[in-house]
Amino acid sequence: MTAPLHEPTADTAPSAAEEAAVVSAGAKSVQGRSLGRIAWERLKRDKLALTGGIVVLVLILLALLAPVITHLLGQDPDAYNENLIDPLFGTPKGSLGGISGDHLLGVEPVNGRDIFARILYGARVSLLVGFLSALVAVVLGTVLGILAGFFGGWVDSLVSRVMDGLLAFPQLLFTIALVSVMPNNMLGLSGSNVRVFVMILVIGFFGWPYIGRVVRGQTLSMREREYVEAARSLGAGRFYILFKELLPNLVAPIIVYTTMMIPTNILTEAALSFLGVGVKPPTSSWGQMLSSAIDYYESDPMYMVVPGVAIFITVLAFNLFGDGVRDALDPKASR
């Protein structure tokens, strides 16, 4: 890092706000540390953010191990258990949506599929789309934002106009329209995989301007700094300056906006699946489960509560973690 950042020693351990006050008042013992280390120490003290981070890790593990866990429990997300369904009403037998030792979260109405197994498999779709679409957005946003900020002129005008335009587009509607004209098989993918692929691309494509704007603004303010000047006077080329001098300084805002973007993407995926343009049955998705639960909110409310709470916990955990990362990395917090 070019500018050394200072922090009071860890034993003062105040909250981010108090800490900012201490720093501005002139810290007692000053010690140079890397930005990453400072951020990590701040994050470690933020109990809410840590909880969020741990929940996120657990969710990722559950999603990755979904086949193993369901196998161990002896469940199959696509297996029908019609014997557990009340033939008269089509709702699960027993209380609370048919919760039992075998079916931890109960079974679906009518066909009796195990809800816990379907939630685990649904997490795979949610997290896959959430992360990969964020990746698409980060790559596009960083490259285009840095180019716009660094080169200025018509490149900047063009990229900025495109970003303004995309932000004003009715995203959900366009995604729905696009998904609805997509074929069932393409590029060697079929069924739900096509939908997942299209969702990743479209959500990522509509998401990049959020990162692009920030990266552009940061690049604009940084390209005139002395260290860039110094690199230039030493004979560094444009691309060396872009990727070796500027990019490392953009990592913090990029990480912040990425962590904030993932929960939004997860919500969008769930919304698309809820509307019936996401993954196709029998592939399970939380949004899709909620949409089929509409018909049973009176007779079997548990069926609606479980996927809803799953979305809530996931998005909340990501939001808590994201807020913590922002507070830890945001340069404003240390002012």
Binding site: A168, G276, I311
Partner: protein
């Protein structure tokens, strides 16, 4: 101001052209590239080849794209007659296309559905502006207190809850469980009370989500502004706290909020798809969703165009208002 206005209008016009191109691209180029026969989706899944050919002829689907786009726009101003396969269908101006699936012109569908969506969006906007901004301002002023923490926890939960879940929960609790409300949509023209009763849950659910977002942003903006030099100057001049907050800080806080409001309102009028499908409100969003389920492309195309226009107009209005409130904007 005039130069600014002209610049914004020009930008909006360019944007409109781009949107139209993208919409047509989605509906006419993507299927071609992906090898989907669009004519068959205009008819239905079990259509016989003769009917598909008739539709192709009627809609001019084998014509080049530019001619199809031209026909579509001519239809908006002059009306359009579809002929082919032995029968003739007339669609009066303004013709935004004709749905052969549901045997009706698209324009009347749009005008039928629009008031529902408008009522939903405006009603919710009033609620979320009042409660969201108030919560945000109070949190910022009482920073660090239990009120601040509490409001922010609720707001965080609010932005993490999908609206179709809170909607279903509120239906299950208030309409089905407690039976306080009869959650049926009744047009305003039939019964004011019935309309209000049917809209109250959608309003609250929608406003809850947005109030949470607005509270978070208002609080952050307000805190940032309270740290500005001109606030210190205002206090140093001896202005009372209500004047400092109400006159100086609020004005700067409201500008970003107003920008957001414009975009959100535009997007909502463009289709509160999730809310309308959760509460079964017969608005534009619901129309699109039904159209997608029936593969009714002309309706999807019409609604997409109209709603993009709504978003565009909302943004234009915000840009102009923004310049009125904050003179610095005009110069940039």
């Amino acid at each position: 101001m005039l130069a600014y206005l002209i610049r914004r209008l020009f930008a909006a016009a360019v944007m409109l052209v781009v949107i139209v191109m993208v919409v047509f691209g989605i509906f006419f180029l993507v299927p071609k590239w992906a090898g989907v026969d669009i004519a068959s989706s205009f008819v239905g899944k079990q259509a016989d080849p003769a009917a598909v050919d008739a539709v192709r002829q009627k809609l001019g689907l084998s014509d080049p794209i530019y001619s199809q786009v031209w026909q579509f726009f001519k239809g908006i101003f002059a009306g359009r007659t579809y002929s082919g396969g032995g029968d003739v269908t007339h669609c009066a101006a303004p013709c935004f296309g004709y749905s052969f699936r549901s045997e009706q012109a698209v324009w009347p569908v749009l005008t039928d559905r629009f008031p529902v969506t408008l009522g939903l969006a405006l009603g919710a906007a009033v609620l979320w502006l009042v409660f969201g901004v108030a919560a945000g301002v109070l949190s910022a002023l009482k920073r660090g207190t239990i009120w601040d923490r509490g409001a922010m926890v609720v707001a965080l939960a609010g932005v993490s809850l999908p609206i179709y879940f809170t909607g279903l929960l509120s239906l299950a609790i208030f309409a089905f469980g407690l039976k306080w409300i009869d959650a049926q949509y009744v047009p305003l023209s039939q019964s004011v009370g019935g309309w209000f009763g049917g809209m109250i849950l959608p309003w609250i659910t929608l406003a809850f989500l947005y109030a949470a977002m607005y509270a978070r942003i208002t609080r952050a903006t307000m805190l940032e502004i309270l740290g500005e030099d001109y606030i210190r100057t205002a206090r140093a001049k001896g202005l009372t706290e209500p004047v400092v907050i109400g006159k100086h800080a609020m004005r700067s806080t409201m500008t970003p909020i107003l920008t957001m409001l414009g975009m959100d309102l535009g997007a909502l009028i463009g289709g509160a798809i999730l809310t309308e499908s959760t509460f079964n409100l017969p608005g534009l969003g619901r129309a699109v969703l039904d159209a997608i389920r029936n593969q009714d492309l002309p309706i999807i195309l019409g609604v997409t165009l109209i709603t993009s226009l709504a978003v565009l107009l909302a943004n234009l209005v915000v840009d102009i208002l923004y310049a009125v409130i904050d003179p610095r904007v005009r110069l940039s």
